[in-house]
Symmetry: C2
Subunit: 246 residues, 2 copies
């Protein structure tokens, strides 16, 4: 039984075992980024799920702006909490360097971070459609595809199966959560939207490859669950728990 | 004579001397961040100023989304360009480590990056007032002060003259450009707005201290110039060049 902590909840009582604590929401793509890094690096952690509509009062003590994901370091004085998925990802990569996900060279690291930043226009364009917003701009999917072209081109330019090269890396993990959600568009849009197999040929091959990754499989939810969650959220009653009933 | 390059311009002809090239706009606070790092670290660089209203056609070759600041590395194959002020700052700190501005410890580095991220709500709240937008929300300055409280509290918590400690560091430089601009509010708002000396006592002491820093003085423009620029920009004719006439 998974508890999703809401306003009336009390602070979770967890053992003082020095194990990381992750505050997240199971359908939040930014939270998934952090889970992917933790799972890829096999870093032990406790999971605490937050009701984002009806946030616990005590949560502000950990994440002052109420944001998820948040990572609490219980083996450090004052048990500080980190927020912002990219900052957490880079912290984890430096703190747990056994499996390096960021390039070690400063230039390539900067270029990968810029590429991840360039995914924001993709997300911003598709977000209203992905969340079943009835007022989504008519050209939302057109703008989405235009923004996504840069990633198809980048994969062609790099000439490798993953953005990171021959094995999976930081760009792959950081943009993955949205690729997991795109297939839900087929279920939620009237014209059953799918990515064009020709225009996004390399990205679709990449998607099939990444889908097989161990950490990706560990955090995966299927298109129907994503669609059902967005439907419930649109009605003002997000069903956070359907992720755990499956 | 400083050239501000606009649509009809041709690519600047610069010597192939391997020296960094910085594309920026003299009144852009994000550009100033990069100039502060370069000046603090005394890294030689060429300056190229871009007309942001009437951007050069060729600029997309360097910064695909037309953003400033951009840093071009001319001593690397294909002369790649980096964008995003924070990514550039971290790259420069790793590539030119003689004077370290970011904390070397992963946790403190992450905490400083989170603090810099928390400056975004300050900027977002004050931006319409700072840019003399007639439709600025009535509560803009109230929201600005509430967001700024976190920084006054953080300085108290850290108990040091600079956010970085006894000497200037990355948080100080990254948030400074806006503190340079706040005094222009006294000139542009009807009620001659100034930061409350009691509520923001530590921040105002910090401001006077940072204002004396060599890199800060090198990039500084006074309140009147900032006010004049914003006035010209509001009229649709940004006077980029007034920075150089002074």
């Amino acid at each position: 039984m998974i508890n999703i902590l809401s306003k009336s909840s009390t602070k979770p009582q967890l053992p003082e075992d020095g194990v990381l604590r992750v505050y997240s929401m199971r359908f939040c793509p930014f939270s998934q980024r952090v889970h992917l890094i933790l799972d890829a690096k096999k870093i032990p952690h406790h999971k605490i799920y937050i009701d984002l509509i009806d946030k616990p009062e005590w949560y502000k003590d950990y994440s002052p702006l109420g944001k998820v994901p948040a990572l609490q370091l219980t083996d450090v004085k004052d048990q500080p909490t980190l927020v912002e998925s990219m900052i957490i990802a880079e912290f984890l990569d430096e703190q747990y360097p056994e499996l390096r996900l960021f390039p070690s060279d400063p230039l390539h690291k900067a270029q990968d971070k810029i590429l991840i930043e360039r995914f924001a226009p993709v997300v911003n364009a598709v977000y209203p459609v992905l969340t079943c917003n009835a007022n989504a701009p008519k050209d939302a999917l057109t703008n989405f595809e235009t923004a996504l072209d840069a990633f198809e081109q980048e994969l062609a330019k790099r000439g490798t199966p993953y953005f990171a090269g021959q094995t999976i890396g930081i760009v792959d993990y950081m943009i993955w959560p949205w690729f997991e959600r795109f297939p839900s568009l087929k279920l939620t849009t009237e014209h059953k939207y799918e990515l064009d197999a020709k225009r996004f040929g390399l990205l679709l091959k990449w998607r099939d490859l990444v889908a097989q990754d161990e950490a990706v499989r560990k955090t995966a939810l299927d298109a129907q669950l994503h669609a059902d969650f967005q439907g419930s959220k649109r009605l003002g009653k997000p069903q956070y728990d359907i992720a755990f009933k499956a």
